[in-house]
């Protein structure tokens, strides 16, 4: 081994604390990249494979009822490939040992066979036997939530008639990867089930003999989805078409796409920020490490080492550190990503999540880390190479000195005052001090960004469930009922307040943009379901016109006063044009609102409602639920507290889990930065400090010179860190706006506190370590080392 290589290894061994800290910074950047990209990639790949293997349909339509003979005509729709008809029935279930009401969707499957489209992945058991009417297959999430196995019994209430069935198998379907009830935002596997039974049996129970009310279809290669949908709409409209739509309007697919979109945004922006910070820190640290080697470089050059050899030497030094960081980041990142994938698997039901650490992702991380290193250390290495060899002949210390006015003013006179020494040290090299401050500030900014994400999600849920949704129970009726139902509900046990509403599924059309959602018809000044304005105050509904979630209005490119085309997807298909009267600020979900009376007019109906919100006395909830289920026409009962818990868990498992990982990484970066700064300060000051101690200054005073400098740098970094952190939060906020939820750009005092506290703790630990190091320092040898 060449002596120069041995020097490299020994240098790394000497710098091990600092090298480890830098490697940690790089590892953090690599980890964010691996986690984000791998999670995105795994989910996307799993989705693609599952869709493909299961022949996931591309077009869907719901209607009232059409004769089976119509299928021949549907097959002639241009662009259509395969088409399958089926029966879809909302049901209620009774699960032995579970008291709460359970809703479900019962679908038909071809007699004992796999359908051609939307095939099942059988997790357990078998499909119902041909000809059997007492067997069902159930979705795996529901089965898992209740501990149901093949062979277990269930009661299904179809159209008011109870039938007892047995579970023949447990399945997964590409149509219900994300499995939620129509009005919910999040899955509730215990209270909502998807089931399938033989077509003949369901037809008989649901009064659909020789008929169907749902179709799924696939497209020919290159066919236009919109064209096929139009064709189906024309063919089906005489049969009470409700909606024909593509995958984008399918709940499961929409949520999955949203999640993927969010992960993709995250995969770009988070590693971007972390890598930026890494590159910057690498720059600061490597520049200083290399600067401490100036004399050595000069000596090597004096003896004839060429620039290339020296650049390679320091390049290798950086390279080894980067490589270590990269390796660590890949290993930890893969581990964290696989953990996060398990959490995702709870919400997105796939047969298995195809987690794989792709070579290209690792190479990408290496490339990004390498680029960061190059940007970070290129200048430092260049400076090293540019050291004039004559420097070796000069005594080293004076050459490093740059005299500032502050120093000239303070020099000598104030040498005995440690604090002045600190100020002098800092002011003598303002650029270097500034870079240290910026480095610490950036790590504070990362801490703030992570905490912001954690807190903003909580704040968002608080807004939704304290200000927007103020009801305890949400009821929906299968069909519109007269408004007097409110009075009846009011008399049920435990009900303290009632508000009714009308909800109509619609498609909003603005220009060529379309969006399927529902219009909620509310009281003018709803109390249990508030509509907030931009300043989060409840607003009244105007007597005419539509309110839209502001995110949706923006998405559709609508301004207040514009007219929105509304296609009514209930009853006879009609289009009406309604002016946009205002926007609603709500963080979760998107919707449209108008007064109930105006919505009744749009529907050309008398005063009618199809849903109610209740406030209840929790002590009487059991009695209330019993009587609610006894009411005819109630199709679903939802507990808002369950919904809130559900969304908190979901956010906790996904967005917040990511954020927590990033806070931890930011914390370790903060420590790495402060430790490095302290370590370099120590190296630069050790001789001065030893001299002072030898001259008779107390250990405390001398330690203060060292620690005080770190303290001042940290204190200066905090406000700057807040500013940088606010910038990071803004960037994250923009990446995380989607249909499902919008995280507000609201930075909590806690985020500021974590940012400041994180660097303060880091600098305290680093200070203690440096004080101990100072204690162990062999003064004599330090003084002897130069001169």
């Amino acid at each position: 081994m060449r002596a120069l290589d041995r020097k490299l290894l020994r240098d790394i061994a000497t710098l091990k604390g600092q090298a480890a800290a830098i490697a940690m910074v790089i590892a953090s950047g690599v980890m964010t990249l691996i986690i984000s990209v791998t999670t995105y990639d795994a989910l996307r790949l799993t989705q693609q494979r599952f869709y493909q293997d299961m022949h996931f349909a591309e077009v869907f339509a719901e209607l009232k009822r059409a004769p089976e003979s119509l299928v021949e005509r549907l097959r002639e729709t241009p662009g259509l490939n395969l088409v399958e008809t089926r029966i879809r029935a909302p049901v209620r279930l009774e699960v032995p040992g579970f008291d709460d009401p359970v809703r479900g969707l019962l679908l038909s499957l071809p007699d004992g066979r796999q359908p051609a489209l939307n095939r099942f992945h059988l997790r357990e058991g078998d499909l119902p036997e041909s000809g059997r009417s007492d067997q069902v297959v159930v979705s795996d999430a529901f089965a898992e939530a209740h501990g149901l196995r093949a062979g277990d019994a269930l009661s299904v209430i179809i159209d008011g008639r109870l039938s007892r069935v047995r579970i023949s198998g447990i399945v997964l379907s590409p149509e219900f990867v994300y499995q939620i009830a129509p009005t919910d935002l999040l899955p509730d596997y215990r209270r909502y089930a998807i089931l399938w039974m033989n077509r003949r049996a369901l037809a008989r129970a649901y009064g659909m003999d020789g008929a169907f009310n749902s179709i799924v279809a696939s497209l020919q290669a290159g066919a236009s989805e919109a064209g096929v949908i139009d064709g189906l709409e024309r063919a089906l409209s005489p049969y009470g078409l409700v909606i024909a739509h593509g995958r984008d309007d399918l709940h499961s697919h929409r949520f999955l796409s949203d999640e993927l979109q969010q992960l993709r945004a995250q995969a770009v922006i988070l590693p971007g920020i972390f890598m930026l910070v890494s590159a910057f820190l690498l720059n600061i640290v490597m520049t200083r490490i290399i600067r401490t080697q100036r004399e050595q470089i000069a000596v090597l050059k004096a003896f004839g080492y060429g620039n290339g050899t020296l650049a390679a030497h320091f390049g290798l030094l950086t390279g080894l550190i980067v490589l270590t960081g990269w390796l660590l980041g890949v290993v930890l990142g893969a581990w964290a990503a696989s953990g996060l994938m398990t959490l995702y698997a709870e919400y997105f039901r796939f047969p298995e999540i195809r987690f794989r650490l792709q070579a290209w992702v690792m190479l990408l991380a290496l490339g990004v880390a390498g680029a960061a290193a190059l940007i970070g250390t290129g200048r430092a290495v260049w400076q090293a190479v540019a050291v004039p060899p004559a420097e070796a002949m000069r005594p080293a210390v004076p050459a490093r000195f740059r005299r500032g006015w502050l120093e000239r003013k303070l020099f000598g006179r104030l040498l005995d005052q440690p604090t002045r020494i600190i100020v002098r040290n800092l002011a003598r090299q303002p650029l270097k001090s500034g870079l240290s401050v910026l480095g610490i500030a950036m790590s504070a900014g990362l801490l703030m960004m992570g905490t912001y994400q954690l807190d903003a999600v909580d704040h968002m849920i608080d807004t939704q469930y304290r200000l927007v949704n103020r009801m305890d129970v949400q009821l929906s009726f299968g069909n519109p009922v007269p408004t007097r139902v409110a009075g009846e509900l009011r008399h049920l046990p435990g009900v303290t307040a009632v508000e009714t509403h009308r909800s109509v599924p619609v498609r909003l059309i603005a220009g060529h943009r379309r969006y399927a959602t529902a219009i909620l018809g509310l009281d003018e000044s709803p109390g249990l379901r508030q509509l907030l304005d931009a300043r989060q105050r409840p607003q009244r509904l105007p007597p005419e016109g539509l309110l839209l979630t502001d995110y949706l209005a923006r998405d559709l490119g609508l301004a207040v006063g514009d007219r929105v085309e509304v296609e009514v997807l209930e009853g006879p298909r009609r289009r009406v044009s309604i002016p946009l009267a205002g926007v609603v600020d709500e963080p979760i979900g998107v919707s449209a609102y108008m007064t109930r009376t105006a919505l009744n007019r749009v529907m050309r109906e008398g005063p009618a409602v199809n849903g109610a919100w209740l406030l209840i006395d929790q002590d009487q909830s059991q009695a209330l639920f019993d009587s609610l289920w006894a009411l005819p026409g109630v199709s679903s009962i939802g507990l808002i507290s369950d919904a809130e818990r559900g969304i908190r868990e979901y956010m906790g498992d996904t967005v917040q889990m990511f954020a927590l990982v990033f806070v931890l990484l930011a914390g370790s970066i903060a420590f790495a930065v402060v430790y490095n700064t302290a370590r370099i300060t120590f190296a630069e000051r050790a001789r001065d400090l030893a001299t002072l101690e030898v001259l008779g200054h107390s250990r405390l005073a001398v330690s203060w010179i060292l620690i005080g400098e770190i303290v001042i740098l940290t204190l200066l970094a905090i406000p700057l860190g807040w500013a940088i952190g606010a910038g990071f939060c803004w960037a994250i906020n923009h990446a995380f706006s989607m249909d499902l939820f919008r995280i507000p750009l609201l930075i909590t005092p806690r985020a500021f506190a974590v940012a400041a506290g994180g660097v303060v703790v880091a600098s305290s630990i680093a200070s203690l370590m440096m004080a101990r190091r100072l204690g162990r320092l062999d003064k004599v040898s330090v003084l002897k080392a130069v001169e």
Binding site: R6, A298, A302, F303, G304, A390
Partner: protein
């Protein structure tokens, strides 16, 4: 430069001497030849004229001591001759090769192949042992002697695996000398090699340099502000305010061990 033109520098312009110098019987061929060398440092507004027109010739195999007060330009001159720095004007030739016009790469090669440096502050690499500090030079030179031999020459055979921090100043400086001679350079340029040492240790270091000069016939230039050291030289060059003040031949070189200060 022909054999007949072998000359020693003995004058500066103002003194009316022969600029090429008179021949110097018994000396080897010319190794370095500096003519009208100036060096100006610019520090902001201030211009410092470190060298103001130096003429100097060094011959093969001789031991030259350069004396002068601090700031007289000794280090600057040595740095330029060693290819560590470039002159503002004038020329320096090494065996006929013009260093003032050489590229950085050529200067690097020149330093690597021909010159050994000894610095006042040793400038050993702290993370390398004595042997490795020597090897860092032998690794890249064309005809090195084994690192062990170089260390034996300076009397450090038993210190090969010590790190600089485990050695005294004199030992460190001797490692630095071993490092400088291991490549078997044609010239050894030493800038205040004893400056940081006490007299006894300094003498040991000078003995080592003397031995190299005698046994390997290496041209040795030693910078010092200690006039005593001049007694061991073939010639003594005095610098003052960036000019050569005088050049003096020593009829009788004293050995380092005969000296003390």
């Amino acid at each position: 430069m022909t054999e007949g033109a072998r000359a020693r520098m003995n004058a500066e312009p103002g003194q009316g001497g022969d600029p090429v110098g008179t021949s110097r019987p018994g000396a080897g061929s010319i190794v370095f030849e500096a003519r009208g060398l100036t060096k100006t440092y610019r520090m902001g507004e201030v211009r410092i004229e470190a060298l103001r027109g130096v003429d100097l010739t060094l011959y093969e195999g001789e031991l030259v001591v350069m004396l002068g007060a601090s700031g007289s330009g000794k280090s600057t001159l040595l740095n330029i001759m060693g290819g560590l720095d470039t002159a503002t004007s004038g020329t320096v030739c090494y065996r006929g090769q013009d260093l003032t016009r050489a590229s950085q790469a050529a200067l690097t090669a020149f330093r690597r192949d021909h010159v050994g440096f000894v610095f006042q502050f040793y400038n050993l690499i702290a993370s390398l042992t004595a042997r490795e500090n020597v090897e860092i030079v032998t690794d890249i030179s064309p005809h090195p002697m084994p690192a062990e031999r170089a260390l034996e020459l300076v009397g450090l055979a038993d210190r090969m695996d010590h790190f600089p921090s485990q050695m005294s100043g004199g030992e460190q400086q001797r490692v630095a000398i071993a490092r400088a001679i291991a490549k078997q350079p044609a010239v050894l340029l030493c800038d205040e090699p004893t400056g940081a040492l006490d007299s006894r240790t300094g003498i040991r270091v000078l003995e080592a340099l003397e031995q190299i000069n005698r046994e390997l016939r290496t041209t040795v230039a030693i910078i010092t502000h200690n006039a005593m050291i001049g007694e061991m030289a073939d010639r003594v060059v005095r610098l003052r305010d960036g000019l050569v003040e005088s050049v003096m031949d020593n009829a009788h070189r004293r050995t380092a061990s005969e000296m003390s200060w």
